[in-house]
Subunit: 202 residues, 2 copies
DNA sequence: ATTGCTAGTTAACACTGTTAAGTAGCATAG
DNA sequence: CTATGCTACTTAACAGTGTTAACTAGCAAT
């Protein structure tokens, strides 16, 4: 019972925090609001988290894990490295589109927050990136891609995707441009950039 | 005299704000600190800015203008679209590397801030992007590139660059990866993606 | 019955953005 | 030469913030 309640309060805090953060943005977020929302004193949060930073880092961490899980699931279903790269790109993009607010928690909130992001969480967060690296390595071995350093290439791929998504999600896209068209073209462009240059097909 | 002093206080506020924002991050930034730093009451800031948002938006705006000016200068020196794209990419990158804090003001601070960014400033900020679009359009006309929609392609290019830079600047890069190598390879990769696929060279 | 731990509490500190009201200093008008 | 009004600020106050320290019910074990 006490065990359950202990977990329960922590979870309540996390859930309320996520909602608050997504509804009101980083700016409107406050520990006291979270506490009020679940009918508990603000200082109770300190029983389960070191402070505001720690709480937010936990949220970021959870969202990253969720995204990574989807990526891992997708990757396991596709053998061919290029196709795999493509489904990974779309999994990433769709995750961002379907869970814009969770995706934004990862990136939008974290910019200033990132300097304080603990290394131990950072390490776990890199699983998705390692999946990418393996895929590209595989492509290089099979001669389908010709990347010099798969580790760098993997970061490039990821950075490109992130850049594209952040343009869409932070509403920086010109209103005359159709979002879906932009995404499709941009992703195709990114994928093409990784495919080995054949001296064939027309 | 009164004219000069009016301008002078506004400028003092801007300068102090920029320094504070860059030294202490968005989190450590406060109007009261800015005011203290220039020996004036906090409310005086409201004589020149509508509030914290407006002040920060002004900083963002100025940094964007500075970057855009550099891009425009660079672009005018290069005729060939592909080369032009390359020098633009490096101008962008170098600006970010040489003025990381000004670059970060543009992007890092703005994520949460962006929803409140006024449209009128947004319009001015797009000049750099329009330069890109023209370059790509030019490349398409000359048959060196084969982008379907230069406007979208331009955004893609910009988003990719931004993604790459943000990975570097927000310290998300794996410490085993050399930053310069990453940038060179990533940018080359992005440029390559825009160059038309020739059915020749080896 | 008392000790000690758990899971919370209240009170307080030093901050924050923002608004309302007040005030020196000066320029012009009568 | 006084009075009005404007400019460029200030002080006081409000409602909020993260965080720390000290306290306290309720329960478990000695």
């Amino acid at each position: 019972m006490s065990e359950e309640q202990k977990i329960s309060l922590r979870d309540k805090i996390i859930e309320a925090s996520r909602n608050l953060l997504l509804d009101e943005g980083y700016r409107g977020f406050s520990l006291r609001k979270v506490a009020r929302k679940i009918g508990v004193s603000a200082t109770s949060i300190y029983l389960h988290f070191e402070g505001k930073d720690d709480l937010i880092h936990t949220l970021i961490d959870e969202s990253i894990q969720k995204l990574n899980a989807k990526l891992a699931e997708t990757a396991s279903k596709e053998e061919d490295p290029v196709e795999r790269l493509e489904v990974l790109a779309w999994t990433y993009t769709n995750f961002a589109l379907e869970n814009p607010r969770e995706y934004l928690i990862i990136y939008v909130v974290s910019s200033d927050e990132m300097t304080r992001y603990p290394k131990e969480k950072f390490r776990k967060a890199r699983q998705g990136y390692e999946l990418l690296t393996e895929t590209i390595e595989d492509g290089v071995i099979k001669g389908i891609m010709d990347e010099e350093d798969p580790r760098i290439a993997s970061y490039t791929f990821w950075a490109q995707l992130h850049g594209v998504m952040s343009v869409v999600l932070t509403k920086r896209l010109d209103s005359r441009i159709d979002q879906t068209a932009f995404l499709e073209q941009a992703i195709q462009h990114i994928i093409d950039g990784f495919h080995v240059r054949t001296s064939v097909d027309k």
